[in-house]
Homo-oligomer: 231 residues x 2
């Protein structure tokens, strides 16, 4: 498959095969996850699946799910059977950088509640170590964000405020996003702990040890990658 | 001093003695911190201090500072010379639980930027170990807060949603607060790391290794406690 969009869709379809009638499902955000939402909607419309309830990780995904009449519910402490989402970078242990779509906090809240979390994407997203290509998006409280930015710089990162035109991008949670480029290689677990401990950081885009499976679309087909715990 | 309010004021006055003309100062939030704000305002009005610029940790403290015509600025990555704030619990190493006033995230953002951070309070706030009496306030994203609550329970905490009447209390950052009562004794550093790593947690009320000095008012006078690094 040469076309990148067709590749993304193929990976999404592999993940959607895991959805069974009666499941509680987490819906991701972004250009790959949207294919999973549409495929779920088609299966509900066609009657191949029923009694699905889903929780969306962004207002955008919620709107798309409503268009496809996928029944939505509010996350209320339940364990989800399955969550499916795209990623920005994936390492060989299925650790990921996510959230360049701007929805990382809701994504992490939802996907940390899932029994099974499947990442989907195309082969341009795979890396040997996280941070090779993608910045880590970090959601921060607007109050004192420049002080928070300075603390991120002290971790060896180059944080850039995400903008829409000339104004700061505002998340669904009323916060800002700093895209943090790694100036040097980092240890993902240590970086995650350091990021989480900075005052003003709401959430960060390192999704470590969360995914149990990844489907990566290549020009020669979809490749399945198993997480450590499933191996 | 028998009267608790008079005690709080005495502790606040001791801390305000550290403010010198030209300083950038962080203003705390709550019933003890307000005495420091008022004392600073009086010294500016009386001419004993000048060229002070201050940053407030809550809208309430901002309003009070404006009443006293204390020049305010927005935190912009500067190092503050001094921050003064109250606490809910203080252990012998000057680790504190803070934020029962609802402003813990802004307090932590501001006070983590201060060269010198002074805690003030009365002797009812001192404990042998944190969590003896006070719950840890934890600011959480409203989205999926019940899922976040479940993860807090898994840490051995009993999280209660802070309410105003029958509605959730909303922080200055548009979030909820969960008051987390410790069911068993905990190690502050481990608990802080665990809390910070939970998706949906914005900030928590454990202020560890931040204060260099504390003034505790007792019936027989104000006691000064030194932090480890200053000892």
């Amino acid at each position: 498959v040469n076309d990148l969009e067709a590749q993304k869709k193929q990976a999404a379809l592999k993940a959607v095969e895991y959805i069974q009638s009666g499941m509680l499902v987490g819906l991701g955000t972004g250009s790959t996850a949207k294919y999973a939402i549409i495929a779920l909607g088609e299966r509900l419309r066609g009657g191949q699946l029923k009694d699905i309830r889903a929780v969306a990780t962004s207002r955008a995904s919620e709107v798309l799910a409503r268009e496809w009449q996928i029944p939505l519910f509010e996350l209320d402490g339940e364990t989800l059977d399955l969550a499916i989402d795209g990623m920005d970078e994936l390492d060989p242990e299925l650790n990921a950088i996510k959230g360049l779509g701007g929805a990382l906090t809701r994504e992490k809240i939802v996907e940390s509640c899932a029994d099974t979390f499947i990442l989907i994407g195309d082969e341009t997203k795979t890396v040997i170590r996280l941070g090779e290509k993608a910045p880590i998006p970090v959601e921060v409280v607007p109050f004192g964000w420049k002080a928070t930015q300075k603390k991120l710089e002290a971790l060896g990162l180059r944080p850039e405020l995400r903008l829409v035109g000339t104004e700061p991008f505002i998340t669904d949670n009323h916060n800002f996003i700093l895209h943090c480029h790694a100036r040097v290689a980092f240890m993902p677990k240590q970086m995650a702990a350091d990021l989480a401990s900075i005052p003003g950081v709401v959430e960060h885009g390192l999704f470590l040890e969360m995914a149990s499976l990844a489907y990566i679309a290549t020009q020669t087909g979809v490749q399945a990658l198993q997480g450590k715990e499933q191996a």
